[in-house]
Structure formats: C-alpha cells, structure tokens
C-alpha cells in the first residue's frame, strides 16, 4: 500500500537525477499515424498497422491505471500479448482516439466517489453509503485503514470486499461532512 507512494517518490527522484538508461532492443518502429482502431462489424474491435498487419479481437488496457491513467495505453491481441504501447494517445488520429476512450471507459468500472452519505466503522469493517459518478451505492470494506490504497498524497483508492473499486481523486475536494467521515476511519 505504501510502496505505491514510495514508487512515486522514486519517480520524482528519477526526474531529478539522470539515470543511465538501460540498453533495451529498440522498440518496434511504428509510426503512430499508421495505427488505426476501428470496429468492423460494429461489435468487434480491430487494429491495423497500416501497410503491415491487422489484428482481430483487440483489447485496450492502461499500463498503469492508477498512476498513469491517460498515458501508456496498450493494445493487446487475442492471446493477451501486447501488440503495441502508445505513450501518449494524443498522437493517434481522432477516430482511433475516440474508440480508444470508449474502450477504456468500458473496461475500467471504477466509480468516483462524490459525496459520502454515511460511513460506519465497526469491528474493523466499514460500511459505506456513497454517491458516485455512476449513481448511489453501498459497499463494505474490511480493514480500511490497512487496505485503503493511497495512490498519491490526496488520492485514495478503495477496493471493497467483492473487488469493486471506488476512487476519490482528491480528498480535499470533498465536502466537509464527507471529509470528516473519511478522516474518522483512515
């Protein structure tokens, strides 16, 4: 839980002091403009690298959904092997980018908590009743103070007992009551 935090510290450190890059085999040279995502038929996602090859049943995933949500997007083929990783999707053409966003929206069902209606903590189990961007929801987290994951200093990820994910992008933005409730348990 804490190593995510220290990792980001480490990242900072990396930016500050130059590290000798490791010699890796040069990544396959693909011009981002050659990458095209499209749906044909409309329920099947395909990817082509222009003038080279084409893939059926492609999946789009984030390499680091928490720390790098909008960068480092990977395209996986049917066998879960990475076809290509795009560092910054803005270099892709508009249609491909739109489809990419749609796919990511579908895959990550994490809800963003906006207001906490009630929160009770008993015997190491906390009962949450929250308003999220997806609607209202109740959930249970075991051992919040141990299991809540601080993605950064103010950003919190909660995973409930079933594996549902709830995110608070910035706990300072929460209204006072919600903040007070959170502050009580974490």
């Amino acid at each position: 839980m804490d190593n995510t935090k220290s990792l980001s510290d480490e990242d900072k450190a990396k930016v500050q002091q130059p590290v000798t890059p490791i010699q890796t085999p040069p990544p396959e040279c693909v011009n981002p403009k050659d990458i095209r995502l499209f749906r044909d038929p409309p329920w099947k996602l395909r990817l082509t690298i222009a003038g080279d090859r084409s893939y059926l049943m492609v999946r789009v995933v984030r390499a680091a959904p928490l720390s790098q949500p909008s960068r480092y997007i990977c395209f996986l083929d049917e066998k879960n092997e990475v076809i290509w990783t795009v560092e910054d999707p803005s270099v892709l053409d508009a249609d491909t980018r739109r489809i990419l966003e749609e796919e990511l929206d579908q895959r990550y069902m994490t809800a963003v908590i906006e207001v906490i209606n009630s929160l009770r903590n008993e015997f190491g189990v906390s009962y949450w009743d929250v308003q999220t961007n997806r609607g209202n929801r109740e959930f249970v987290v075991r051992n919040v103070s141990e299991s809540a994951q601080w993605v950064s200093a103010r950003r919190l990820l909660l995973i409930d007992v079933d594996g549902n994910r709830f995110e608070i992008p910035d706990i300072d933005v929460l209204d006072k009551r919600s903040f007070g409730l959170i502050d009580m348990v974490i």
Partner: protein, 742 residues
Amino acid sequence: MQPFIESLPPEVDAKLQSAKPSEEQVLIQVSADFSDDQAYGEKWLVATKLRVLVVPADGAVEEIPLDAIQDVKTEELVGGGCLVVERKSGAPVYLHYSSSLIPKFAEVAQGIGQLSKGKPLELPTEMERTRCDKCGRLLPEKDSKCVACIKKWHTLIRIQSYVNPYRVQLTLVVVITVIGVLINLLPPLITERIIDDVLIPLSNFNLLVWLVAGLLGAYLFSWLSEIGHTALSCWLGFRAAEDIRAKLYRCLQFLPIRFYDKHKVGALISRMTNDADRLEDFIAFEVPYVISNALLLVGIFCLLLYKNWVLTLYVLLPVPPIVLGGIFMWNRLTRFWRLWSARWGRFSSHLNESITGIRLVKAFAQEDRESTVFDRHNDALRQVNVSGNRAWFVFYTITNFLMSFGAFFVWYFGGKQVLGQEFKLGELTAFISFLWMLYQPLRWFGDSYNFMLRAFAGAERIFEVMDAPSEPFDNPNARNIPKIDGRITFKDVMFGYDPGKPVLRDINLAVEPGEMIGLVGKSGVGKSTMVNLICRFYDVTHGTLQVDNEDVRNVRIEDLRSQIGIVLQEPFLFNRTIAENIRYGNPEASFDEVMRAAIAAEAHDFIVAKPDGYDTMVGERGNKLSGGEGQRIAIARAILHNPKILILDEATSSLDTATEKKIQAAISKLIEGRTTFAIAHRLSTLRNANRLVVLDEGKIEEIGTHAELMGRKGLFYNLVKTQKETSAVMAVGGGKEDPGSE
C-alpha cells in the same frame, strides 16, 4: 427459494409478461446492477426454455431466441464484468455488472450455455449469502457473521469468557475484594466515633484506645486483602491473556492459505503482540480494579445516602455532565485507539518486510529510503498517540475539576447543617472522607476508561482473526483415509484465485496410483495452482477433485496432507538445524532415517562437510545455505515423510545437471509406488514421467507419453525444440545437456 429466480418489481414483471408467452416457465431470472456499461441501475436477465430476455428498467425488452445463440461468456473487466450473449448473426447482447455479482453471472452464463445446447439446466441450489439475514447489512465476507449484529458489549462478554475457566479464582478475587471494600469503609466510621464520642465530649479515654486499635486493625486487614487481591487477579489476568494468545495462534495456524493472500504478515504479528498486550494489561490490571472500585462505589454511595441523603444529592450534581462527556468521548477515543492499532499494524508490517528483505535493501543501497519510510510510520504512530492522549487528558482533567465541585457543596451545605445542629461534626468529617473515597474510584474510572477503550480496540482486532473461518479440519462428515492409494481424479475442474477470473479451466485428468505425471507449460499457466488444489490449499470453484474416488472436500484434511510430500517451488526451511528441518514431517524419525533420506537427496556429502554437520543451524528461511542445498534438504524432507503422493514443484531447478541427474536416480527409486506430480521447466527432468500433461492458457492442451507427444508435433514438441536450440547455444562451454529427447 431458488437463488437464480429473483423477484421482479411489478412494472418490470408486467413488461416481462407482455414479452413472453405466459405459459413459458421462467428458468433463470436475475438482476444486474448496472443499467448500461456506465451507471449503476438495474437490468434483468430472464431465460426460459426458448429464449433469453434482457429487461431494462426503462426501454424496450430485448429478446434472443435460444437457437440464435452462438455462445455465452463472461468477460472480466476492472471492478466488474460483462455477460456477452453472442448471436449466430448480428451484434452480441451485453449485460454489465459489478464485481459483487461476478460469481452469480459466472453461473448464469453456464446455465444459459446449457440451455442453448439443449442440456438440462444445472445451477447450484444455494448461493452464498451476501447480506445479513437479521439486519440486511452487507456482509464483510460471504456467508460470514454479521459484525454489525454483534453488540458492542459483546467484546466485553467475549473477554469475560476467557476468564470463565478460572471461575473459582475469580470468585475468590471477588470475595477478597468485597472484604477489602468493607474494611475500607471502616476507618471513616471509626474516626467519626472518635470525633463525636471522644473529642467533642472530651472524655472516654478507654473508648479512644479501642477505636485506635480498631483503626490499626482495619488498615492491617485492608493491606492484607490488597496483597491477596492483587496477586490473585494478576495470576488470573495473565492466565486469561495467555489463553487468548494461544487461541489466536492456533487460529492463525489453521486459517486457510486464502486468508494469508489477503493479510500482511507484519500486521498479523502486530495483532499477536501489540493488541494482545493491551488486552493482557487490561485483564490483569484493570479488570480487578474495575470490580473492586465498582463495589467500593456502590458501598460508599449507600453509606452516604444513609448518612445524609440531601448532601448526597449535592455530591451527585457533577455526575450527569461527566457521564454525558464519557459517552461523547467513547467514540472519539475508540477511534483513536483503533487507528493506533491499525497504524501499529502498518508499522510492524513495514518493519517485518524491510528486515526480512534486508539483503535486497542493501543490494540496492536503499537503507536511507527504508529508514525514511520507517520514520513516516513512526511519526504517524506518535501523532495518533499524542492526539489520543490529548483528547483523553482534556476529558480527564475536566472530569476531575467538575468532581471537586461536589466537595464545595458539601462543605457549604454540610457546614450549614452542622451550625444548625442538624448534623454532627464527626458525621460531616466522615462524610467528607467518604466523598474523597468516592472520587478516587471515579477519577480512576476516567483513567481506566482510556485503557479499556484501547484494549477493546485491540480485542476487536483479535476477535476478527478468530472469527475468520478456518479450514474445515473438524468436518464431521469427512472420511478417514488413513492409507491413501494415490488415485487422483480431476473432473471438469475450474479454479480461480479470484472469482470470475479462472486460472484453470475444464481440467479432466485421471491419475492412477503410482503414476508419475509431468506438468509442463509456460510460466504462470497454472502448474503450481494444480498442485495447490491437490494439497487442498484452495478448493476448486467448479467440478470435483477426487482422491481415491472420494471428493477431497470429504476427506479429512489431516489424512490427506499427512500423505502428501511436497517440495515447494521456493523451499522454506525453518531456523533450526538441518536434521530438524529434514525431520519436520516426522519428528519421530531416527537419525539413521534422516541420514538415509539425506543420502537419497544427494545432500549427505555437503551436510557432513559443514563443521556442525547435521546440527548446522540453517538460518532464517535457510539463508545460510545455497539455493541448491536448500532444495536438496527440502527433497530429503519429502523423502523422509514417506508420502503416498509426492509433489515436486521445480524441486531441482537450482541444481547443476550432474547433481540433478544423481537426484533423478534417487527420485526414480523413490517414486516407485507413489503417485508423483513433477513440475519442471528443464524438460529433461521429466524423463521418468509416465505421462506428460501440457497446460496452455489454463487448459490441458496435450496428454501423453514423451514419445507420443513428440510424435504429435504439437505444443510439447515445440517446447522441446526451443529448449534444445537454446541449450545448444548455452552449452557452447562444453556442458552436455540433453533436453529430454531419447
């Protein structure tokens, strides 16, 4: 009630009725908790013998005739999943749901699959409960107890249940306490007599002597009773705490592996040490005082009322605000001490990890960073300690201040009564002595209040572990199989560490007693998982796993495990001597047997070369041995265990080829008459196997003897070919490696 027929709200039901012929029986009727792929809401899936219907809360019903269905599957997403009904032509139908419903929809997908293939519908008749039957709250774990329904004072009752076995001693403590309390009430009464009958009338010296002697006696007895009381209650408290620790440790030992997947070792250790310590202090030092002080309070209170009830009411004036304050503080303080316990957990988990991994920390020169992390945990601990104690201290001082108000009232109103001759001077002094005696326990309650809440927070964490379901060791229906033949059968086994994310699928395999099976496949394909299932570290999600034609779930775990010998992928050794490690499974084994096992495992030579030979301490986790030495000791341990089922998970991966070959010879003798599962990446290791099972993507891809698989030119053939090529490159230095081809 069938779990897969959920009731519908009336308007949805109406919509459904108009969408299907009314005589068609509903077979599956379940709700999803997403209205589309984005928002929470409700959507229903209904299946009959002829069609599948998707009914949204608003909008049109979507109908898919069963014969138009190509395939039904579930797709795993992050934080949820999606049921995909693929049609023979046209767009598939999707139904999104959250992670909570993954188990349900995994079954539903299978059910619809069965229906569309014209097979009879087979669904589990019971699903795990997710909500409490009583209060309807979500349960922290499926089928577990509802913690919210356990009352707060339940903690106290449970703590008390650990004192129960020592009822006799407890009664004795209480008796001694009562005597002590009664004796403690004497001195003020005697001084009252001295003032009113001796000092004020200025006469009666004889009486004075008797009274003073009585006073002395009272103090003497009070001192004696205090000694007895303290000694006994300490004994009692430490005993109870010992019992709690023992129980906790046993619980930890018997908890399933799954539990340890979820909890951090350091945090568990902190429960064992810190939280148990708090509880111990509470039982040993606080509980006896609570009892005696409570009795003292009652006694004094009655006396005061009897002496002068008007004055007593004045004394009580500050009590209501104090009680209110106490109630208010309960939650605040509990919160702090819970937080404190949780932070201790994190602190201890970091400590455990960084000290265990000290070699790695040093290798990467990260001492500074680990220390910084430590400082942060340490600081967090101090912060909560300070805030908690500050909150309590404010409460404590205010309480004290308020209580001294009572004394002012008594001096004022009591003095007035004495002046008015309604009350004697001696009585007033006695009254005031009692008053101070009353305040003492009251103040003390403020003090122990803090301790009590702290102990409760710890007790909650301890009981949480104790309440976690343990492995069903005492399943009364389990069959005794003292002598296993070693027939292992996988029937349609599906298994995933997380529901809805199968690691193994459709595993069908019948292994005869005495057969040696080689498990082959890419890293992460599920080889270790398969042997985990055989040891019953985890239970299959679907299908059955049988040992001697009996479902493993019905075999006594003890019988099963005591007849399995396992060499794990990362051999674990305890910080004991080499001989003790080899003897771990059979502590009774003679030294001769230990040595023979070591010889068979090719370990004897290197062991005797050590200065302490078999009595060498191996260091924590065996870190004073080389990787290969550790593996050989683990093999010797399995050999000595003399199991009917032998599992070798990469047992010889750290050995050079020459040593490995020697061990191979030993193993080939060893496996005679035992069912063996061997996992190896170096395919030459599996040369002795009767059959090889090649796994790919969680499924069995090929089964057959080495020659058969080579002849088939499938996956295994390719594996062997690649390995040959790579080892040809690696063998340039002259090593002669033969990757399994005859």
